[in-house]
Symmetry: none
Amino acid sequence: MEQSTNILVVEDDNDINQLLCRMLTKSQYHPQPAYSGTEALLYLKQQDWDLVLLDLMLPGMAGEQVLTNIREKGSIPVMIISAKEEKQTKITSLRAGADDFITKPFDLDEVSARIDALLRRYKHTKETPSQLLTHKDIELHVEEKTVYVNDIHLTLTIREYKILLLLMTTPQKVFSKANVFESVWEEPFHGDDNTVNVHISNLRTKLGNANPEAEYIETIWGMGYRMKS
Amino acid sequence: MEQSTNILVVEDDNDINQLLCRMLTKSQYHPQPAYSGTEALLYLKQQDWDLVLLDLMLPGMAGEQVLTNIREKGSIPVMIISAKEEKQTKITSLRAGADDFITKPFDLDEVSARIDALLRRYKHTKETPSQLLTHKDIELHVEEKTVYVNDIHLTLTIREYKILLLLMTTPQKVFSKANVFESVWEEPFHGDDNTVNVHISNLRTKLGNANPEAEYIETIWGMGYRMKS
DNA sequence: CCCATATTTAAGATTTTCTTAAGGAACCTG
DNA sequence: CAGGTTCCTTAAGAAAATCTTAAATATGGG
């Protein structure tokens, strides 16, 4: 499954922005131009990005501020492209969270190679959630949110699906009821575990209906649940 | 738990090698100098490294070859430091797997900042291994809350598990009954130790059933319990 | 608004674990 | 050696944890 690489190009100089976007397109990436710091923020909110090319001198919001904002939110690679030749700016940016710093005028091939290097490392370490989880004869297709047991399609409710997904992401791990609640319901656990109990029971029933021979979810008394090996 | 950051510095020029090592030491890293490509390979085989600083013109084996070797083996960050100013060498290296390319003469502060940026990204994604406690032939997997003795899976109650976990975290230490009670029950000790006695007895029985030859828990009369060596 | 479905709450049943009591063994001291 | 203290083991009843099912409530779509 081929996923496109989306790169945000934040550069107020029209010609340079287009130059960079053309280079990126030629490398099979999907560039999105932005001409101000504030415009960049809107795009950053809108979707995930694989890399950001960031000028420092921008209208609306300075590049330094955008970098800070990006770093507060996550770990996307950021390459600074700037006319500011000062050594101190370079070092401040790198220490503030930038992954690379290129000064204008730049060599396009070098920029391209450095982008590739950055993406190589980012993509290598970026956790692509496994698209298919299996355990015994359970198949859980993450993208499609479908579950098969013994090649039989299960109709799970969203709660049931999320519980099974949680357990199957780390089949050896014991998830306490509080863990399960907080992960699936995304609220603080308030001490009453009966809702979790009921959903676990419902899930067990559905799994068992598909294959009565097997047991899939194991209770560790006093501790919680895990996938049964 | 603080882990040291080990950086291999591969540079045949003595002065430059020392300069880099001093800078790294000042940044609290642990540098290891190597003066040839072949020497670098020996160190790479010997242990894991967090980053490699690599010159290209080296005796014994060219830096390009060392880079190829590193990339075949794993994903350690590699920063090339080279006198070769040619644009083509820079791009070839970056595309061959280098993470960064600095030309000599370099600015030490910039090198330092780039090293920090590289390590920041590398350390951010490094996985922390799951915790395992062992004593004699007992294996206690903390995350999974499972216990094996002599490769036999033990079914422990939560009290038994917690007592064993407590004793195995510090196998030399004598834990008084009050210690055990307060740690496992998380209540103030009220003087009656019979509950602890019973659980210790039950735990001993389960351990002994798995391996009758060995003794695992030792009583120190008048003081408490510890793991038997 | 009505209906179907999902979720939560409630209640009773089942399973597991814990605590306490009692008898006996082991250890320590005078 | 005897007596007192500490510890160990076993069994039974109580308590806690968990499971299942049904009823009540919430949600979303037509």
